[in-house]
């Protein structure tokens, strides 16, 4: 079907495995939901599983994009979930105090307040990591733990419901028949890609992640770069917080963005960014986030029993991670993917996917022998 060098170029592309996993996951849904790929017009907007995946996945994509840059500098940001909660709580409590909740000026001001709070959290993280030299995992743990308490303090432990049409737009509304959040995500991703790949910024981030001290010695202000990525990450989390609270028109200090930091880190890893820093792929992260959201949707649609949800999720994640490991592929497939060109072309790919569960259990004894 395809010529050999092209196939090799395809399998060697850094987005090949994340995209392959995404496609496989989407296809798994088809037997359970026959019209999974169909998209129809309902009430003047597009409606379908794919639209839902993008809509519900938007906050995760945003958080994960921010996380990518932090991880690229060799750091990690655990506080994003709490920042999501704080932003949502502040914004919703401000809107709910307004006499006219639908007044545009009030909504913009509320969102501004929320985002400023997010930036402050980011500055704090950046300050602790870059200036104080505290391990990122510890520095960001502070807001992860305390932030949720702050969010609850703002909401007074209640779920604040808002009734604001303009605010509803950002996370739950539609524009040009598409969920508005898609445009927000597209804008943030476009700006991020432009800034990191069309300017030297991306290179600087990778350089700091590779070796912060060496970067400093060649004249890169690594501290400033680090603070910047934490602020950017918190800002992304803040926008995600606006989306999450807007999606349900309510701020839930306790549950908004709960464990999103872990999903975001996972998305970054699936996307092929090294946790050691020094290399990142925004496109990979977006695909990774979509993989996670598709997985969640898949669990709901194929009727996995509630008690085994997490086991199912874990199994898929393990398989995905193993598939991404070149060493694992070389051992199991004997270098069919990656080193040598595959003869079967496109058809070989789903077949390999179906062999995954069996393959995942086989290699262990093999490795012991060798």
């Amino acid at each position: 079907m395809t010529t050999t060098p092209r196939w090799r170029a395809l399998t060697h592309h850094h987005l090949f495995w994340p995209v392959a996993v995404l496609v496989i996951l989407l296809l798994v849904n088809v037997p359970f939901t026959p019209d999974f790929f169909s998209i129809k017009m309902t009430d003047g907007h597009l409606y379908g599983s794919l639209v839902s995946i993008v809509l519900f996945g938007s906050p995760l994509i945003l958080v994960a994009v921010g996380m990518t840059l932090v991880i690229a500098t060799g750091g990690i940001d655990l506080s994003v979930g709490a920042v999501v909660a704080i932003t949502g709580a502040l914004t919703c409590s401000y809107i709910s105090d307004q006499a006219d909740q639908s007044a545009l000026s009030g909504v913009f001001l509320a969102m501004g307040i929320g985002l400023v709070a997010a930036v402050v959290c980011g500055l704090w993280n950046g300050f602790l990591v870059a200036r104080m030299g505290i391990q990122p995992i510890i520095a960001t743990l502070i807001i992860m733990v305390a932030g949720r308490g702050v969010a609850q303090l703002i909401t007074d432990g209640q779920i604040i419901t808002v009734n604001s049409e303009p605010y509803k737009l950002i996370g739950g509304g539609y524009w040009l028949t598409l969920p508005f959040s898609i445009f927000v995500v597209a804008a943030v991703v476009a700006v991020t890609v432009a800034l990191t790949r069309r300017t030297a910024l991306g290179l600087l981030v990778e350089s700091v992640g590779g070796n912060a001290e060496a970067s400093r010695l060649v004249g890169i202000r690594s501290m400033r770069i680090k603070i910047m990525v934490y602020v950017f990450c918190a800002l992304c989390a803040g926008i995600a917080g606006l989306m999450i609270s807007s999606n349900t028109s309510a701020a839930d200090g306790n549950n908004a963005g709960l464990w999103i930091e872990l999903d975001a880190i996972l998305a970054v890893v699936i996307g092929g960014t090294s946790l050691l820093g020094g290399r990142f792929s925004i496109g990979g992260t977006v695909v990774g986030a979509l993989v996670i959201q598709t997985l969640t949707t898949t669990i709901y649609t194929i009727g996995v029993p509630t008690q085994t949800n997490l086991v199912f999720k874990a199994a898929v994640v393990i398989i995905v991670c193993l598939m991404q490991s070149p060493k694992f592929r070389a051992k199991v497939f004997g270098g069919r993917f990656g080193t040598k060109p595959g003869a079967k072309g496109g058809t070989g790919q789903p077949a390999a996917a179906q062999a995954e569960p069996a393959a995942a259990t086989e290699p262990a004894p093999k490795m012991e022998v060798s």
Binding site: D43, S52, Q158, N247, N254, I299, Y300, G303
Partner: protein, 336 residues
């Protein structure tokens, strides 16, 4: 050396004085109450709350505080912030302060034996509220004042019969269930009670076609329901283990171009204010109440326990069921 010793002595002295002062204060409190022993002694109740994780919980706290005040009891309130160790130390404090009765909503089910034995040794009766505990010795607590979650499930199924009748629904009933947090007692028991009634009375015509956890949250309910509507477009009933998930699901149903309360009949549990607002708008068909306002019942029990009367092992909260027609009238009375 001498300086240091002096300093230490002084420090110890100050600390002791502070402690004494604190003791004196407390003694004053207790002596005043014991002084009034003959005529209407002021009963002291130590109450340790789980935390403030939801609107339901805050309403629960407010109810306990208000009714203690009304009953004229002295309330020692402590918030455990979802941590068992906080709760244990709060209970130890209550024991040290020699309160008359200890009441608490346990954060978790197990691990209470030691501290409850301490209370028993001091002859301080313990009353559980809202949630139960597992102990080796049943005599460690006097009674539980709280909801029967299994019964709430049964009531949800019973009220669904009424809802179907009111809506004039004919044919198969395809139910989607939004479960609470996996492993939480309310989630397990609300599912169990509902299934009991369903298996007994509606084996042929009712079917749960999809069931998944929405973690008791609006966002969870919305996301799960959106997926359900794709995989099972013929769902015509939704049973949500709490109002919040139901409220999220309503948004998902609307996004799918269907009418909540009409195309899909909705029964939820809890009865928070937002739930009643949605019901008065016709978007929820029936709500099974899980009443957090158990303060008055708790105070009644506390008095009885203090007076040495025997009480039942489980005092169930007074709860009612609400159909859509009652929503408008009930709405102004909803406190939480």
């Amino acid at each position: 050396m001498l300086n240091r010793r002096n300093f230490l002595t002084a420090a110890v002295g100050v600390a002791a004085a502070g402690g004494l002062a604190a003791c004196a204060k407390e003694d004053e409190g207790s002596s005043s109450s014991s002084a009034g022993d003959g005529g209407g002694k002021k009963l002291t109740l130590g109450f340790s709350q789980v935390g403030s994780e939801s609107g339901w919980r805050s309403a629960n706290t407010d109810s306990v505080k208000a009714s203690a005040k009304e009953a004229g009891y002295k309330l020692q309130f402590s918030d455990a912030q979802q941590k068992q160790e906080n709760q244990i130390s709060a209970i130890r404090n209550f024991i040290a302060q020699k309160v008359d009765v200890i009441a608490f909503s346990p954060v978790v089910v197990t691990g209470w034996d030691a501290v409850l034995k301490e209370a028993k040794a001091k002859k301080i009766p313990v009353v559980l509220t809202d949630r139960s505990v597992e102990t080796s010795d049943e005599s460690l607590y006097v009674t539980l004042v709280g909801s029967d979650f299994t019964d709430e499930g049964r009531r949800a199924a019973k009220i669904l019969e009424k809802v179907l009748e009111t809506a004039g629904h004919k044919g198969a009933v395809k139910i989607a269930q939004l479960e609470g947090t996996t492993g939480a007692a309310p989630a397990i028991e609300r599912a169990k009670g509902f299934k009991e009634v369903m298996d007994a009375d509606h084996k042929d015509d009712w079917k749960i076609v999809a069931s998944q956890t929405g973690d008791f949250t609006r966002a969870g309910g919305k996301q799960v329901m959106a997926a359900f509507l794709q995989s099972n477009p013929d769902i015509n009933v939704l049973y949500a283990h709490n109002d919040d998930m139901g409220l999220g699901a309503i948004q998902a149903i609307e996004a799918a171009g269907k009418k909540p309360g009409k195309d899909i009949l909705i029964v939820t549990v809890d009865g928070v204010k937002d739930g009643f607002v949605a019901m008065s708008e016709g978007k929820i068909n029936a709500i099974v109440e899980c009443n957090p306002l158990l303060g008055p019942q708790l105070m009644e029990v506390v008095q009885k326990v203090k007076d040495g009367e025997t009480v039942e092992r489980w005092i169930k909260t007074k709860e009612s069921d609400f159909m859509q027609a009652q929503a408008k009238d009930a709405l102004p009375t909803r406190k939480y």
